[in-house]
Amino acid sequence: MSDATDYGARARHGRLRPGTNERPTGATDGDAGPAASRELCVLVADDDDDFRESLVEVLELLGWRALEARDGDEALALLRRETVDLALLDHRMPRRTGVEVVEALRAEGAALPPIALMSAHRDLVELAAAARLRHYVRKPFGLHELRVIVERIIEAPAPQ
């Protein structure tokens, strides 16, 4: 399990509705319109209060539920405890970087939800690739970029 990519793990994790342990039906999957989107739960992990609060506001505006973590340890604890549909992890955080959070979960053999690494790092693509993360979001980004990215990640078919 420790070698699972976030994407492969997503297939095991499934797209779970917050507060339930039920995997959505195929019909719901294929019908993931606004009603389904409203139920998404996204973890936002970033130590910068202004950025994190802004991002939470955007996610809520888009109709998604947001969970907040202020550092890598909080993110790890939330990912262990909560079922999330997507985790947006800042790379440069106190206590653990975004990549270290992912590595810790893999080491535990935990099923990973889809994860997107957020950073203004100039080598973000390489950073994400080295951590075997398929998704990344370069800072700064706007509401519509975020919506497109999140929907693409959530709606992407899981690899066989």
């Binding site: 440069r92 509401l143 970029e145």
Partner: protein, 397 residues
């Protein structure tokens, strides 16, 4: 609302009367129009253009293609904000125009009718400098250097009289005007709602230009630099990134007729924070010597503390601001920035994980000032890290 509507109608009647008089006699009735309009009309008249001209000149497609390539950085910086402004107009007919420093239109977004319909605003390549198109919200802000609003007949050309327009010059990282952002609306009352977002979006574009320059500067920065320039750049971009999200949320709320003041003021505060940190970062990235100039030492110390907030958090060191006495010293800004950073880094190393660093600024005898950092380890051991700055020009004890 009734008073505002009446004031608008009265202003429009006066402006239209003044414009008719201008067309008939060539005279400007300054008592009927706002002062910036009178100034713009005088300039337009001096250029010899006619208010009745129906055509707006444009550069040819080859020249336009070259222009778009040359202004690629401005276009890239402005694009997210053009989209946000367009969304903020909601269902109202509107267009948002980006032009270069010569008033040449680079990009237009808006509703289909305003961008491509029979009454469309001028598209890419159109020449909207005052010299070419008279008083308008692209050319006039370029001359005035500030925000300009033109309502109906306040525009020089009759073709613009159906619009309420607002424009704002965009300044590059060096402070020089790089272009203009203009909003054209058919509905006058919607203009007031969009204005605050326009002003904030212009600041956002300017911040975007600065951020792009920082990325470029990191490529050229000295490898032996004592400071983690790239990580600091990532940290300071956070404020800008947060501002952009707030502007986007404000645009969505505006479109839905909701309140935007809190979001816009938060975005403006974040952009100000970003700009302050960016200035300090550029001084750190610049290897050479600068010039002795007056520096507000207390502000530099506060900005450095803010810039190093994440760096300190990743080292598990608490950075605290103590008494910062207002103090102006005469010093080389770049050298001072580098020395300040070294002092902060030394203090954080001394404090160690779990420790703290308190920052103070105060005056010294012999016309100098200090930045004093008190590092405290988890065991309570203290060490002082002080930067003395000669050439105190002013400040209080």
């Amino acid at each position: 609302m009734l008073h505002r509507r009446e004031a608008i109608r009265g202003g429009l009647r006066d402006a239209h009367k003044a414009w008719r008089h201008l067309v008939d006699t060539g005279e400007i009735r300054t008592e009927l129009v706002r002062s910036h309009v009178a100034r713009a009309w005088r300039r337009s008249r001096a250029c010899g253009s006619s208010p009745l001209d129906a055509r707006i000149d444009a550069i040819d497609p080859v020249e336009l293609s070259r222009l778009l390539e040359a202004e690629a950085d401005l276009l890239a910086a402005a694009r997210p904000y053009l989209a946000a402004l367009s969304r903020s107009a909601g269902p109202n007919r509107h267009a948002v125009i980006l032009a270069d420093a010569e008033g040449r239109v680079l990009d237009v977004v808006g509703d289909e009718s305003s961008v491509r319909g029979p009454d469309a605003v001028p598209g890419p390549g159109a020449l909207l400098s005052e010299r070419c198109a008279g008083a308008n919200v692209i050319g006039t802000p370029l001359v005035e250097g500030v925000y300009v609003e033109l309502d109906g007949a306040e525009h020089w050309l009759a073709g613009f009289h159906g619009f309420t327009c607002q424009g704002l010059p965009l300044r590059g990282a060096d402070g020089a005007i790089r272009g203009v952002l203009g909003v054209y609306l058919r509905e006058r009352l919607a203009a007031a709602r969009v204005r605050d977002i326009l002003v904030c979006a212009a600041k956002g574009v300017e911040a975007e230009l600065i951020a792009a320059q920082l990325s470029l500067a990191i490529e050229n920065a000295a490898t032996g630099s004592p400071c983690p320039l790239e990580t600091l750049r990532q940290d300071l971009v956070q404020a800008h990134a947060a501002a952009r999200l707030r502007i986007d949320v404000a645009a969505e709320r505006s479109a839905a007729g909701g309140a935007t003041i809190r979001l816009i003021s938060a975005a403006e505060r974040l952009i100000t924070r970003f700009r302050r940190q960016a200035i300090l970062w550029r001084e750190l990235a610049d290897e050479g010597l600068g010039f002795p100039a007056p520096v507000a030492l207390h502000e530099r110390a506060a900005t450095m503390t803010d810039l190093l907030r994440t760096e300190a958090a990743t080292r598990h060191v608490e950075l605290m601001l103590g008494r910062l006495a207002p103090l102006i010293v005469r010093d080389d800004e770049r050298e001072l920035a580098r020395a300040l950073l070294r002092t902060f880094l030394d203090a954080m190393v001394a404090a160690g994980a779990g420790g703290s660093v308190q920052v103070e600024v105060g005056p010294l005898e012999l016309s100098s000032g200090y930045v004093r950092l008190t590092a405290r380890t988890t065991t309570g051991r203290e060490s002082l890290h002080e930067l003395r700055c000669p050439g105190r020009l002013g400040g209080s004890r």
